[in-house]
């Protein structure tokens, strides 16, 4: 975000003049705000709000309207709270063609859709730094799949999806040479390309695979949205740096008055791919899938990808000029209007899909950009929202024909009508709003009622916590003519795009525990009788069970320094909200958290002889403190046999 701040510094002077218009926080909040956000103890919120975690790499879940944090879902970063990425089962999830990446930058989210409406099955998330897309299951709130993207960098215009979740897209904010070519940076124009990847999603399993990548000239694809309704079959990407700068972008990529909205006819692209117009290109990228049945993830290296070049595929891609360095590229609920938010523009252009279609039919082009036809600006334009504010970034829609645009520089949300493009209301944000979210506001069926602004700067909004402050969300009631600020709540990491859906869409299909009889983990212990300790060379596998309130076995001997010990712990409980934990002293790896009916594995390589206590780390019952045991680690080469058990007390006291 700092880059944007810098990029906009030229306009900042004007912004500071605007800021004197802002109301104080006190005057912005009215008397009945508290009752609108109060959710009584034991009562549920009305909406699930999924919020991207930015540089935390995770996804967070809040309840609306209370703003209560319900869960952090680990996706692209290690997560000490539940062992994601630490235990043997989930380590493969973070694997890439360059090995394990422990921490990424998670920007955008999108709930799966059917007929342009949220269907509550999955939520998709992007990793911006090491380009990947993840799929999270909404019955378990677990990351089920992560697909890496080759020929990509800065995976920013992602993971937006089509109205039946046919495709999830991934567009490159940073152009790079395809493959691993070694070229001078100054050869940007010749060698650098941006790509728009179309990832197909299996209707039943949700499994992802890259159907094709559309190769575009070197420039920065920023954000995107699929067409819907009237414009279903098209995808729209905003782009900047059509100057093709490769250094000091804040100046050199801000030269032109207009950049483009890239309009992709993906149905046409699909046909070309089928007709063999693409070219298979060698590319190495990881595809990581978590198998619920085996409770284990596997990582597979894919070897090639299909690339479509607009040169070989006429009528597949068009450019629409858009002022200036557009960021958001948002499509209205009917699919007719495409709103380009030029972050350096003093107006908001609104394009009409009907007009775009007509302009293409009538060949109303003003030229081409590397062979791609550029539609005349006026021919595609529905109209412009005049003087909306400064620094427009993102637009969401309600169910009454209104649009809401965030204004980063003037720190406000501006409400305007799609029909006549008139501004009808504006409210301040505290401070520097980035993304906006209206529940369902990017679908055919917005729920309206609330709007959340995700702010980049909080400064004086909360009790200070040293130099590093939380970022923040602000909830507005938009049910009336005037937007009303009703709540602030802090967020984890930096929130970018967010999604929200009615709680009723997913709350009743939550998995409460895993059926132990369907646990096909390779190392499951089906009951205490199946617990075991087996040595194979220097590898020791421990089949362990946990139930309130003991671990079996809880005495283990015959392990030596340097052994690779794998504790496979099966939680035998079959009740909701009874996880058990597992930790062993001095383990440099991690701990475990095991859901009821699940098996999870901790690797431990002891480095010093001694007695190592292990115990359950999640308070499970009145006898939780008793849920512990001992591992004896003997010096390498000693002659202590494998011995294990629970509840076995020796007849005589052993001395040595």
């Amino acid at each position: 975000m700092k880059k944007i701040i810098l990029a906009l510094s030229s306009v900042a002077v004007i912004a500071s003049m605007q800021s004197c218009k802002m109301k104080s926080a006190e005057s912005a909040v009215q008397g009945d705000a508290a009752s609108k956000v109060y959710v009584a103890p034991g009562k549920y919120d009305e909406f699930y709000n999924f919020v991207s975690g930015g540089f935390s790499g995770q996804v967070t879940v809040y309840g609306l309207p209370s703003g209560r944090l319900l869960k952090v879902i680990p996706v692209f970063s290690l997560f000490p709270e539940n062992g994601y990425g630490f235990n043997e089962e989930t380590k493969p999830m973070l694997n890439t063609s360059n090995g394990a990446v422990p921490w990424d930058d998670q920007h955008h989210l999108m709930l799966s859709q059917t007929n342009g409406e949220q269907d509550g099955r999955w939520i998709f998330a992007n990793a911006n730094n090491t380009p990947r897309v993840a799929r999270i299951d909404l019955t378990t709130f677990k990351t089920m799949e992560i697909l890496q993207l080759p020929n990509s960098a800065g995976n920013h215009s992602s993971p937006f999806l089509t109205e039946n979740t046919e495709y999830v897209v991934a567009g490159t904010r940073f152009s790079v040479p395809l493959g691993e070519e070694d070229v001078p940076i100054s050869s940007f124009k010749q060698n650098f390309r941006s790509t728009a990847s179309f990832i197909s999603v299996d209707k039943t399993t949700g499994h992802m695979s890259i159907a094709f990548q559309i190769m575009l000239p070197g420039m920065n694809l920023d954000l995107s949205r699929a067409g819907k309704g009237a414009s279903h079959g098209w995808f729209f990407f905003s782009c900047y740096n059509t100057e093709q700068a490769y250094t000091l972008l804040e100046v050199n990529a801000s030269q032109k008055d207009k950049d483009f909205i890239v309009a992709v006819n993906w149905k046409k692209a699909e046909e070309y791919a089928k007709a063999g117009k693409g070219r298979k290109v060698a590319a190495e990228y990881a595809h990581n899938v978590y198998d619920e049945d085996k409770q284990t993830a596997t990582s597979t290296m894919e070897k090639e990808v299909l690339v479509l070049d607009p040169k070989d595929c006429p009528d597949m891609v068009y450019m629409i000029p858009c002022p200036k360095s557009p960021h958001g590229c948002d499509v209205s609920p009917t699919g007719e209007y495409i709103v380009g938010s030029g972050k350096l523009a003093a107006l908001i252009p609104v394009f009409s899909f009907a007009k775009i279609t007509k302009a293409i039919a009538d060949k109303q082009f003003e030229g081409d950009f590397y062979g791609i036809p550029v539609i005349k600006y006026e021919a595609a334009l529905h109209g412009e929202v005049k003087k909306p504010g400064l620094g427009p970034l993102h637009t969401e829609f309600d169910d009454h024909g209104n649009a809401y645009t965030s204004m980063f520089l003037s720190s406000e949300v501006v409400k305007w009508r799609l029909s006549d493009l008139q501004v009808v209301d504006r409210v301040p944000t505290y401070y520097s709003v980035g993304h906006l979210m209206v529940p369902g506001g990017d679908t055919k069926k917005p729920w309206g009622k609330y709007l959340v602004a995700y702010d980049k700067i909080t400064k004086d909004r909360y009790l200070p916590t040293g130099p590093e402050l939380c970022q923040s969300a602000q909830l507005y009631d938009i049910s009336g003519d005037k937007m009303q600020l009703i709540l602030d709540f802090p967020t984890i990491g930096e929130p970018h795009y967010a999604q929200a859906c009615p709680a009723s869409l997913i709350k009743d299909k939550q998995v409460k525990f895993f059926d132990i009889n369907k646990n096909h983990h390779q190392f499951v212990a089906m009951g205490e009788k199946k617990t075991n300790v087996v040595r194979t060379g220097n590898r020791v596998d421990v089949w362990m069970t946990a139930i309130r309130s003991h671990l079996t076995p809880d005495n283990i001997e015959g392990v030596y320094v340097g052994d690779e010990v794998y504790f496979h712990v099966t939680n035998l409980e079959q009740d909701w909200d009874i996880p058990h934990g597992f930790a062993i002293k001095n383990n440099p790896g991690a701990e475990l958290l095991i859901m009821p009916g699940e098996t999870v594995t901790l690797k431990y390589v002891p480095t010093h002889p001694g007695i190592y206590p292990f115990y359950c780390t999640d308070f499970c019952s009145a006898l939780h403190q008793e849920m512990s045991g001992y591992l004896r680690v003997s010096p390498k080469g000693s002659n202590v046999p494998i011995k294990f058990g629970t509840g076995v007390v020796a007849d005589t006291t052993a001395k040595k």
């Binding site: 525990f513 059926d515 132990i516 009889n517 089906m526 009951g527 205490e528 009788k529 199946k530 069970t545 139930i547 309130r548 309130s549 003991h550 079996t552 035998l572 409980e573 079959q574 009740d575 009874i578 308070f619 499970c620 019952s621 009145a622 006898l623 403190q625 008793e626 509840g647 007390v649």
Partner: protein, 162 residues
């Protein structure tokens, strides 16, 4: 018995955690404490109890001789879901040993406890008395009605019934 020595400590732990209110199963255990009836119930846990407990099973018909298929099926469930806490002798492990349970309890009480665990622990005096003795809420292991009936047959078999 080592477990007996743990009991005083467990009771202290329990008192502590009631008083600080950090109860992991607030609704159920709170109810348990407020619904406590006066008098010593520990006797009720060992003596013969005519209660059928709380739940859907009000009239279970026993058949003779024992159905060995049901016994076998229940054995597999016992090994995975029950054996960690219940011995087949009269020795208490985490929960009571099962020897003699079909003499102590009505068939309906046993089946209700197996499938309607939480309500039984919250409301049934005998189940509450067992909680006071064992200090661990029996987990609901999500057995089906059929599993519960099979389990009863398994217990009858364990008690030498025919």
């Amino acid at each position: 018995m080592t477990l007996k020595h743990l009991l005083p400590a467990a009771i202290i732990a329990c008192v502590f955690f009631y008083s600080c209110g950090s109860n992991p199963q607030p609704p159920a255990e709170n109810q348990n404490s407020t619904l406590k009836e006066p008098g010593d119930k520990s006797g009720a846990a060992v003596a013969t109890d005519d209660s059928k407990g709380k739940g859907k099973f009000t009239d279970v018909t026993l058949t003779h001789p024992l159905d060995q298929k049901m016994v076998t099926s229940a054995k597999a469930i016992y090994d995975v879901k029950c054996g960690a806490c219940h011995k087949l002798t009269d020795e208490k492990l985490v929960g009571p040993g099962w020897k003699g349970v079909t003499d102590r309890r009505k068939p309906e009480w046993i089946m209700n406890f197996v499938v309607n665990t939480d309500e039984m622990i919250d409301k049934d005096p005998a189940a509450q008395a067992l909680l006071e003795k064992c200090m661990v809420r029996m987990p609901n292991q999500h057995l089906s009605d059929e599993d519960a009936r099979n389990m009863l047959e398994f217990m009858r078999n364990n008690d030498g019934k025919n």
